[in-house]
């Protein structure tokens, strides 16, 4: 038996273990689920040690003598004090320092997610699609404006916003179904081609 066939058979066994939950909960499903959690955690731990701690901390400080990295290394180490009730306050220094990221993200995020998006909603209405985008933007924004009662002509107009959102949710749901079916297709392609294809 080749290694490829053996590894695929192991994969097929655990795929079927997980699928067995569709019938009802059972020990095979439980075992496969717990193995997944354990292996993911173990793999992540070892990989992070090998690919992050060794090259970016140990080698950088001990071999390359890049001593400035001791400061962020200590900051990172402080996070481990989360496990101590009396010393957990030390970990907050790292969290406070990491707020720099949030600070950097605000102006850039404002630009990408708000300003550029607004600019593109203010272009001349040259096509029917652009008209639909304008109508949808205004109607949805007004739907969430609660200082005026949603009644009369105004109420009918903001209802258009509700319809826009319902169409959006429908599209999201359709795409979600597509994604879930794709996952099932991927697993069945694995079983049909990679496993039974090798056995044949």
């Amino acid at each position: 038996m080749s290694f490829e066939l053996f590894s695929n058979l192991v994969g097929a066994f655990f795929t079927l273990c997980i699928f067995s939950f569709l019938y009802k909960d059972n020990p095979f499903y439980q075992a496969a689920e717990q193995l997944l959690v354990g292996i993911s955690l173990g793999y992540g731990l070892v990989f992070t040690y090998e690919r992050v701690f060794i090259p970016y901390v140990y080698q950088a400080i001990v071999i390359k003598h890049d001593f400035i990295l001791i400061i962020p290394a200590i900051m990172g180490f402080l996070l481990l004090f989360r496990f101590s009730r009396s010393l957990s306050w030390l970990s907050r220094y790292f969290i406070a320092f990491s707020m720099i990221m949030v600070g950097a993200g605000v102006p850039m995020g404002m630009h990408a997610s708000i300003l550029v998006q607004m600019r593109q909603a203010m272009v001349p209405i040259e096509t029917f699609n652009l008209f639909l985008i304008l109508l949808g933007t205004v109607a949805v924004l007004l739907y969430f404006f609660f200082s005026k009662a949603h009644s009369g002509i105004y109420g009918k107009f903001v209802n258009v916003g509700k319809w826009y959102m319902m169409i959006g949710f429908g599209a999201s749901f359709g795409l979600t179904v597509m994604a879930r079916i794709s996952l099932l297709i991927g697993r069945i392609q694995f079983l049909v081609n990679d496993v039974f294809g090798l056995i044949k």
Partner: protein, 393 residues
């Protein structure tokens, strides 16, 4: 209990069985179906293709996902890598997630098997897993070699041939982020405004709805959404990048005027809309290389020493010269050599399974969707009829 009550109380396990059969049967019996390409996919394809054969252009592929989303994202990655390797586009790859590192290697090796001349450090470079995405994204805008330092094999980047002509985002001008989240927005937020980097995403279908507004505003230049996006890209690669003209000798890399001869052909709307292009992207097995009289003459002129052998394999069908590759015996294969054998196989327009996974999957997807729609309609009809009867009683 009447029929409608039974429908409402149907055990969900029966539905699972029907959905499973709706997927298994089309996967086991593949059939050719058209897969219409959409502008977000075409735009990404064209941008990558515009880098073909250029020393001073490269793409960056960011594999920010684990095995859970591979059924949707892996076919996209394979299709883009195949496009890049076919058209001689430099590729860089990285991941921000430890679980993404083996997926990069798996994707590259899957495609590389069919491209024996492609070399690590020359045609592509795998940076591997890198922590600190924020710092790396900004750092690469100034200098890629200084920021990334080494590739996944531990080689200094500045010594690699692929880095010739590549300094920062001015040259590595396109990033494609593959993820099951909105991680692609990190590039849009930090790298696009500051450095003018072009950003595209390959996302799971669930995330596509969240990212469409950024396509409309032009902040994303393209998007592959779920298995459908992957299937569209596979089709474009088959029709354009993997296309071989029997009349062109691709062993010559520069023409008389000094222009590079690249395998494949550039994107063309008229080619895509032409009915005959469907024959280039079939998912059923193709075994016959078909030539017009002129094409056959030009093709055999490239291999004058094998003319007798090719003529012995030739048959005529509907006014075309046809060579069936299944008729080639091992002796004939030894006689003609690997180059001619590979070219004949390419001219059958047959696509290897790994390069049509998404399209085969889309067949099953179509059947499953029809089943789900039928279930929804049946469920609703049953519900409303029962409700109406309840009101009447």
């Amino acid at each position: 209990m009447n029929l409608f009550e039974r429908m409402q109380k149907l055990d969900r396990r029966w539905i699972y069985i029907v959905v499973a059969l709706a997927i298994i049967i089309p996967l086991m019996i593949p059939y050719d179906s058209d897969n219409v390409t959409t502008p977000p996919t075409e735009n990404l394809y064209q941008m990558i293709d515009s880098f073909a054969g250029r020393e001073d252009r490269a793409i960056l592929m960011s594999f920010y996902h684990d095995a859970a989303t591979m059924p949707e994202l892996f076919p996209m990655e394979v299709a883009i890598l195949r496009h890049a390797f076919e058209r001689n586009v430099k590729v860089f790859a990285l991941t921000w997630s430890p679980a993404g590192a083996p997926i990069i290697e798996f994707a590259i090796n899957t495609v590389k098997e069919e491209f024996p001349d492609i070399q690590s450090g020359v045609h592509y470079c795998n940076f591997g897993y890198k922590p600190q995405a924020f710092a790396m994204i900004l750092g690469m805008g100034d200098n890629i070699a200084n920021t990334m330092n080494t590739d996944a094999e531990g080689r200094k980047l500045e010594n690699l041939p692929i880095m010739k002509g590549i300094n920062n985002y001015s040259e590595m001008n396109l990033v494609v982020e593959f993820s099951g989240s909105v991680a692609g927005m990190s590039w849009v937020t930090y790298a696009r405004p500051k450095f003018g980097l072009n950003v595209a995403v390959g996302v799971t279908a669930v995330m596509a709805a969240d990212l469409y507004p950024y396509l409309q505003s032009g902040q994303l230049i393209g998007m592959l959404s779920g298995l459908k996006g992957a299937a569209e890209y596979e089709k474009l690669v088959d029709i354009f990048a993997a296309y071989r003209d029997p009349m062109i000798d691709y062993s010559i890399t520069v023409d008389e005027d000094g222009n590079k001869i690249l395998p494949g052909r550039p994107f063309g709307r008229e080619i895509l809309n032409d009915e005959s292009s469907l024959a280039l992207s079939k998912i059923t097995t193709q075994t016959k290389a078909k030539f017009t009289a002129d094409q056959y003459a030009a093709f055999t002129a490239k291999y004058p020493e094998h003319l007798t052998l090719l003529n012995s394999l030739r048959s005529d069908e509907e006014g075309l010269a046809v060579i069936d590759v299944t008729q080639i015996t091992p002796d004939m294969r030894d006689q003609m050599g690997e180059v001619l054998f590979r070219e004949l196989n390419q001219l059958t327009r047959n696509t290897l399974y790994k390069f049509k996974v998404a399209r085969i999957g889309m067949n099953a997807q179509s059947v499953a969707h029809i089943m789900i729609i039928v279930f929804i309609i049946m469920g609703n009809v049953g519900y409303f009829i029962q409700k109406a009867r309840g009101a009447k009683d």
